[in-house]
Symmetry: D2
Subunit: 259 residues, 4 copies
């Protein structure tokens, strides 16, 4: 939290943030007083695949939590309504927290997401059918797909993650969200941050984590550190194999698990 | 089947065909030898709501049957691929069978469907995510929405239904589909033609029926008659209350149930 | 319906009736005026496996129809309450309709059912948890397991099936159920009588059928014939392969499909 | 962890442990090297009600985690196989850890559980149908029902909970389970310990908790304290209203949340 960075390996290589962005869009939405986001999305583990429709259908278009795909789409939709430009709001935050004003979207990745994202479209239209989308679906999804394609290095990601380790305090000393909201985000990360393997991560690593299919993982040691890993090889649940192993070794050696 | 028409009430009023069109698009697709449609859609009762996503998700994007919404979207998608213009193909058939060359789409209804059809979009994109759509989703749905908005009178609908009562023979004496395929369509109507009330209709009326939320019902007495009713008041399952009552009285009086 | 029997093959071999008994227990329950059975079981296709729990859970312990396992357990439970001895009531009926007073339970089969019927126990206790069982579960299931183990020949089964072909009139000329209730049972058979293949049977054969995993199938040509087949080889859905083929050939040759 | 006890209110009143026992039976099973329990039960959040069957059916009789009912039944079944007497094994542990050799089962509660536990029977027989029960269902359930009916005071429960706060070390200084297994149990408590409200508890309280419908809650501050509350009024999800409020106030005042 004092800004000292310890790095090993390819810590300057940029990779696609993908789902890791969900943590930061959520923080942005929660930064508004009276945000009302919990009327549109739940805070419980989902128990089903991160992009599943059936639970969403049974629960009337209210996603289980903000870290599964439909939940993150709702959060982006709200950020778009709140700011008029969800992508820019997120880029502004990440540029400020990482200290890198050049942080940007990889347009190739964004384009391929937009072409192949049929299931995300199905999720968004299903929510629209339950009146849980405020912007036109194609527009909200455009922001969603481009956000996911922001590229970042592990060093930058770790710096950005300090926002949570400091319980909501920004790099410039200002406060984005209050202490309790930072705790809430971290508890959702622990319960729901690593797709269908949240229970396994909670045991093996014991830290709030958020992974992305770009191979990155962000882990938080509340009040102390932020840790970021990158390894492109994914397990069957979509989490980085090398990243999970590194984090497990880290908590075994440092005993800094929350349990 | 000799062309004699018996009518009572508002038999010249035109109403929106809605789901009743599904029977005719299916016949058109089946009229092509080697149509392959049964690799894209099943033939079993669905046991869930006509526009449900969860069964479609569990069954990998293959709808249970061609008379629930996702099944009918697949059939329209195939007709579009087969003919280049699904709407015109259907209009041509219905104009020929009804003898009314003026039969057309009510553009107001079609427009409102297109605006509110979020759930149908969700269904179509979910099928696209399983690679079970051949045309772009917006294009296929445009044909689907406009087909549903064809307006017809009960007299015209009864004439069109003779196609099935004659086991596939058209008004001009030509054959659209073979005897066995007409039986198949009627068996699907009996099992799946009236939304979640197929079992109730099979008992009360005992005829292959297809209903639409425009208030119409088409019933077939195989080898003998075609019967069409219209009444705009719908029950909770989406079937015309007056139409169902009329058909029940009809089979009670005539004993022409298939059972 | 005049009692003439046409037979071919092993028509005197007795096999286990299994699920085919469900048709007759249902008729017995329906024979009581004010039976109230439709408050305890539905009449719609199930769309899921014959012994599935999840639909039963979502629908508060009310089985979809009387021909899937939980539905048949409810019917047996009611027959047990109505008569004090469900097995004897069924045996009495079948002995009278077949003309064979020796018809009985194969105790070896009954015992093996009782040992391996864990899923049926789960279904029954789930219904009990929704207060949809009237007798203690072990007692109701004992009657259910033993009923399924009644052995019968195709000739006898065909004779018994005339009860439905005659729309409720017994072999002795008395009436068990009224004409409408016989139609209802046959419509349920067409929609739900052959496990997950009801749609396929409706198309291929086009007659109300009820199959059993003992290899038997009972088919009804309403108002005309009753047909019974036996062949022990089952397809993946639990229906006799030879029986289905024979019935398909029969309706192709005689054109006596209901469609 | 030094044995000092701070108490307020009715801390000597005994209440029924109910689901809180699941934590201790799990610890007992895990205390055996090569216990193999994770082949019979998972470690992920369930996302559905604690006593739901449908997930169990889709996942072939393997419960999601050991703290929902079917998971706890499997754990008890294994403890019964391992020890020959699951109830006595649990009583021995709890008596030793609480220091109260009189701890016992409230036979009235146990009897009423056994009478009304139809859904638990359904769950157990469903698992038996997937070959995931080793003892006869009635016998395993008898141990399960009686375990749940052990009565305990908050003071005793807090003492017993130190087993986890000490990461597996018993009151007598011996070790029951290793440090990592204690972490695993606490991570499962955080994810799954409070029925459908695990996410809410993780946020509001931020401690591994296990609640019971007898009104008790056990919370662990890893490496420091064990906290037990009791209040009989339950919210709609089955957690004690007063207990949750007390724990929330406790972590707000002490800042000892894990986040």
């Amino acid at each position: 939290m004092d800004g000292t960075v310890h790095s090993v390996g390819d810590f300057h290589v940029r990779f696609s943030m993908q789902s890791i962005t969900k943590v930061f869009t959520l923080a942005l939405v929660m930064s508004r007083a009276d945000h009302g986001i919990w009327r549109r999305v739940g805070r419980e583990p989902s128990g089903s695949a991160f992009n599943s429709l059936y639970q969403l259908e049974f629960e009337n278009g209210i996603p289980r939590n903000p870290l599964i795909n439909p939940g993150a789409i709702v959060v982006t939709d709200q950020l778009l309504s709140d700011t008029g430009d969800a992508l820019s709001a997120l880029l502004d935050l990440l540029r400020a927290e990482t200290g890198n004003p050049e942080l940007s979207v990889d347009s190739v990745t964004a384009g391929s997401e937009a072409e192949t994202g049929h299931r995300n479209r199905a999720l968004a239209y299903l929510m629209a059918s339950f009146d849980n989308m405020r912007n036109p679906v194609p527009e909200a999804l455009d922001h969603y797909f481009r956000q996911c394609s922001i590229t970042i290095s592990t060093e930058e990601l770790a710096r950005a993650g300090l926002l949570l380790a400091r319980h909501g305090v920004r790099a410039d000393g200002g406060r984005l969200i209050d202490h309790g909201d930072a705790r809430r985000i971290m508890s959702i990360m622990l319960n729901c941050g690593t797709y269908d393997a949240a229970g396994e991560f909670a045991y093996r690593i014991g830290l709030p984590c958020k992974s992305g299919v770009g191979g990155g993982i962000l882990a938080i040691v509340p009040g102390r550190y932020s840790v970021a890993t990158w390894g492109p090889g994914l397990d069957t649940k979509g989490n980085s194999v090398a990243g999970a192993a590194a984090l497990e070794a880290f908590t075994d050696l440092t005993h800094c698990s929350v349990f």
